[in-house]
Structure formats: C-alpha cells, structure tokens
Symmetry: C2
C-alpha cells in the first residue's frame, strides 16, 4: 500500500504537509492541498490506522464483552451501542465470554493489549464477588500513570469501586414479578432459576416467598442455563416431580419458551392452570401464545446510556467520580398471567 511518504513524494511536499492536509490540522495553502489530494487519489492512498493509532495512542475502537452472543437480550443492547459508536466515529468489537470467568479475564487482557479506547463489560461475576473482582479490574485497567482505561460495567454496580455502572433494579423487578403472580392468586409458584450470577432474581424469589408466607419447595425450583432447551428440560423435571403449582416465575423470557413447550406437551393450559411470567421482555414475549407477561428491562436504553457514558469518559478523560446510572424495570402484563389483559399491537413498530 501507498504510504504517506509516497503521497508526499508524488505531490512534492513533506510528509508533515500530507499529514496536515489529511487531518485538517494546520492551515495549508489551497494549491498545496489540491496537489496532495490529487496524489492521494492517484495512488489510492488510505491512511494506515494502525500506525496512526500507535502514534496517537488512540485506536478509535471500543470493545464490548457480553456473556452470551446468542440471546435476544444482548442483540438489543449491542444494536444500541453500535448506533452510538457509529455516531462517535468509533468501531465496535464484540467479545463473548460464554459465561466463563476465565474466558472473561482473558478477553479483558486481550482487549487491553489491543489498546481499545474503552470497554463495555457485562460481567459474569455475581453480586457477592463484586468487591474482589473490582480490585482485580482496578489492577488490570490501571495504567502506570494512575489513569484507568475507561470501563463501563453493565448490569452490576461497580461504582463504589471506581467504575461507571449502568444498572437495572433487577431485584425489585423480581419482587414485582412475584407480587404480580401472587396478586393473580398464585400460591404455589415454581421457579426456573437463572444461572448463579443472576443472583438478584434468585433472591427476589426467596424473599417473596417469605414475604407472602408461602413455603419453599425445592421440587419447584430448577436451575437453568438461559436457553430454550434448558427451560424445556427444567420444566419437564418440575412436572415429573408431580408437585402441583399454579404459577411460574421464569428467570428469563427465553426459558419460558421451553417451559411453554413442556407444559403444552403435558396438557397444561396457560394461564388457566398455571400463570407464567418471564423476565427481560424481549420481543418474543409478544409472539408467544399466550403472549408472555414479563418484567421489562430497558435494553436499548441501557446500551445507549452505557455507550454514551463511555465516550464521555474517553473523550473528556476527566477524573470525576464514578457514575451509577440506575434504570427502572416495568411489569408488562400479557395473557400468560391475565386472560383479560389488553394487548396493544404497538410492539410491532419497534422491531
């Protein structure tokens, strides 16, 4: 490829002048500028962004690490992040930790080595491990000159430990889900428990049972991995246990798809026999029949705010205190918990 040097020679100027033309930095004589641009064209020159990055210590790339590339959830988040990155002239690399802490740590090292300008992290770490992991991250992200590589954490609150965080009040969302089932008359509530790192949903389930004075039955709780199939097998197990239930709190919406299938095969009708509520409110919830009640998590907003916050940090670079952005959840009632729910078809506009 042609280099800035080739362009300089072709245009009979110095490399400094070429650089100035390309970056509109200093003012350049219009005639000279024309000559340079002509040479750029003639040679098909494209600036080598790697060399530029090395010199500038700026790559104009951000990294986003997610725990699961398959899910609808992150698709919404990533789409929003991508839009913001685009607007800011950054490109986006996506890394998938596959819910493995080891892999996540390796990815972060790789990302720092690759000099990304900022990182959006959806960590697999659970609430209890935050302080310890934060310490790890601090060491990892600290440059020698006492500055951190900008990092914004999604879905966990690391702000007391120095990192900007965009959170959703998942626990409260879980309480609302359980409250809604209770209000609809459910007294034996089964639970498709999310993976351990989603501990706030799990706490919400236990605490709600307590609050309602309902007794916990381990046969009504099954651990899952957030996939359709996992929801299917988990629900099969609960059904096989023979323990009756009249409500189901599904750790996320995707699990509910599998649960629907298992329940349908068992001849159970929703919501007549069992009322079902999911979590996340992905578009799937609208499409299932019956349509699935869920706890909405503002996915796009989360992605957008996280990205905007990250770029602010990258570009302003100031040392202000870490920010915590807290987003609300919202109960969305559909026919899986309330046969008389009025369903607007408005969702269709949004995808």
């Amino acid at each position: 490829m042609a280099t800035i040097r080739d362009v300089a020679e072709a245009a009979h100027v110095s490399t400094a002048t070429v650089s100035n033309v390309l970056n509109n930095k200093k003012k350049v004589n219009p005639e000279t500028r024309e000559r340079v641009l002509a040479a750029v064209d003639a040679l098909g020159f494209r600036i080598n962004a790697v060399a530029k990055s090395l010199k500038n210590r700026k790559t104009n790339r951000i990294a986003v690490v997610v725990t699961d590339l398959a899910g609808q959830f992150f698709q919404s988040v990533i789409r929003a992040v991508n839009a913001v990155a685009d607007d800011n002239g950054y490109s986006l690399s996506i890394f998938n930790s596959d819910r493995s802490v080891t892999k996540e740590k390796n990815l972060l090292r790789e990302i720092l080595s690759a000099q990304y300008d900022g990182v959006l992290l959806d960590t697999v770490i659970s609430t209890a491990q935050i302080p310890e992991y934060a310490e790890y991250l601090r060491r990892l992200f600290l440059n020698d000159d006492e500055k951190f590589v900008p990092l914004t954490v999604l879905e966990r609150d690391f702000s007391p430990y120095g990192f900007d965080s965009v959170c959703v009040n998942i626990y409260e969302g879980g309480l609302n889900a359980m409250q809604h089932l209770y209000d609809q008359g459910c007294r034996r509530i089964a639970f498709l428990a999310p993976p351990p790192s989603f501990d706030e949903r799990i706490r919400a389930y236990y605490d709600s049972l307590d609050r309602f004075g309902l007794k916990y039955d381990p046969k009504l709780e099954e651990s899952t991995l957030f996939s359709y199939f996992s929801g299917y097998t988990a629900m099969k197990k609960i059904l096989d246990s023979g323990v009756p239930f009249d409500g189901l709190f599904s750790g996320n919406d995707e699990l509910a798809v599998g649960a629907y299938q298992a329940m349908q095969e068992a001849g159970i009708s929703i919501p007549q026999d069992v009322r079902v509520i999911g979590f996340d409110n992905i578009f799937l919830a609208n499409i299932l029949s019956p349509s699935l009640s869920s706890i909405n998590v503002p996915k796009s907003t989360m992605g957008r705010l996280a990205a905007e916050n990250l770029f602010r940090r990258i570009e302003e670079g100031h040392q202000e205190l870490p920010v915590k952005i807290q987003l609300p959840t919202q109960l969305v009632i559909r026919t899986s918990t309330d046969p008389y729910a009025v369903i607007s078809n408005d969702w269709i506009r949004h995808v």
Copy 2:
C-alpha cells in the same frame, strides 16, 4: 503502560531478547527467560498489539459487514463466525451497513484503512450489479503488490470476479416455497416482496406464477423492508385492496410476524383461509402460532464455512482461484401451510 523496553531494563537484557521470550521465536537461555518473565510479571507488562501489528503487518482482527444488525438471521451467522474467529485467535469487529450502499462503501474503506486481516461481506448490492461492484471491490481490495486483502462474500456469487463466495441457492428456495403453496392448493398467492437487493426471491415469485399459469396481480404484491412493522403494514395494504388470496409468500420470516398480526386483526385464519410460508427459517418460525412453514437457510453453516474459508486465505495466502461454496436450502413444512404437519420439538435443542 510498561513497554518492552522497561521489561528489558528490569531484566537486564535487550529488547530483542524480551521479544524472543514473548514470542518463543529464537531459543533463549532458561535463566534469562525466567528473569524476563519475572520482569513482565512485576511490571504488569502487556504487549502493545498496535505496535506489534504495525511491525508485523498483521492485526489478528477480522471485520464482518452485515446489512442489518437487528435481524435474527445475522445473529446466527455472526455467532458462528465468532466461534471460528475465537478458535483461530482472531477478534471480530462488526459493522452495520444498514442496507445503504454508500455506508457499505465507507465501511469497507474504513476497514481497509484499519488494516483488518480479512473481511466477511454481506453486501447490499443486488445480483445485477455484481459485475460492476466486483470491479469496484477489486480496485479497493488490491494492495499495490498485486495481492488482495482476503475478502469472502456472503449470499452473493462474486467468484467469477475473483472473490470467494459462500452462497445459498435462494432462487431455488423461492421456487420451492411457491411450489409448496401451489401443491397445497393455493391459486392466488400474495407476496411480501423483500427489498430490491434480494432479487432472487422476487424472480422466484414471478417465474413461479408464470410456470403455474397464475396471473400476476400487483395488488397482491407489496414491497417491504424486512421488519415486523413493514410486514404488518404491507399485509394491511393487501387486505385493504380487497383482492382475495389463499396463499402468502413472505419474503422472510420476520415479515410474516407482522403479516400474522394483520391477518389476525382481519379475522383471517391460517392455514384455513390463507396458507403462509416464510423464508430463512429463523427460530421464530417454531414459536409463532400457527408455526410457520419456511425455507431453511443454513445460517450457522454459512457463517462457519465463510469464516473458515477466510482464515484459510489469510493464513495460507496462496493465489488459488476463487472458491464458490454453494449451500442448499430446505423446505420446512409446519402448520401455517399444512394443518396436519407433524412438528417435532427438536428445534428447541438448537438454541
């Protein structure tokens, strides 16, 4: 950040030796190696991949350009690509052209400037424009030393013009979709036409009508943009036209979601009144009620093969002739065209 120089000083060796240790290139005295590794640890040194890339002319990054970040379709493709990239030690950047040729061209320029080692391109260009666009790409991707930056094209055949291509026989798939509707007794088939760049589906519709001796009615064809909402409004229009129809060929599955909604609001039952077939066979097809017949496109396989092919080109770098990988489609019959279709629940395992 600590540099290789800092490490060299701390370990009392030269930078060349540090480099040799880090890359296991030449053999280094075990004691020296230990000293170096100790220094690396002590300083928390991480190699600067940007500097390395500049020197090596290799970034270990690939770019994938898609026309639509929102769709289920690309999620499947990207997931497969990501897995292969991971296995090969590459990281993946995602670019969204949003179905704009201008944006696609800009992205490609940006990608080449950023020195990506290879590109996976899902172009927005339609079949007819391939020769011309191929010429454009050849100019763009040609290094001065007569070598092309590895590029693998998805869903279009650029192999006669010098670029590896992973294709799906969409036209045939479209014929099969139409044939199936015809076989099921449909004689007035409506069409939710995909955007112009998906011209093979459009051709399949016209050619099939011809073949079956069915007359074309423009009122039964509506152009769309591949979104739920677009499917919804397009179907509304067709319904408003008052022209009766007994079959629907939906340009892709997502459009069918909107069409379902519109038809349901109009009190039309599927498949009794109208038989519906989609395209792509995304998982949604299983979840809709009635479940949606579709033409399967092997999305993961496509992503995997394209990525594998790209890495072969990157790493072997040989000048063999461009490859065309052609993948088959498959008719998947569900209850939207055949009320007696036997539906396995096996799909649930795959997501």
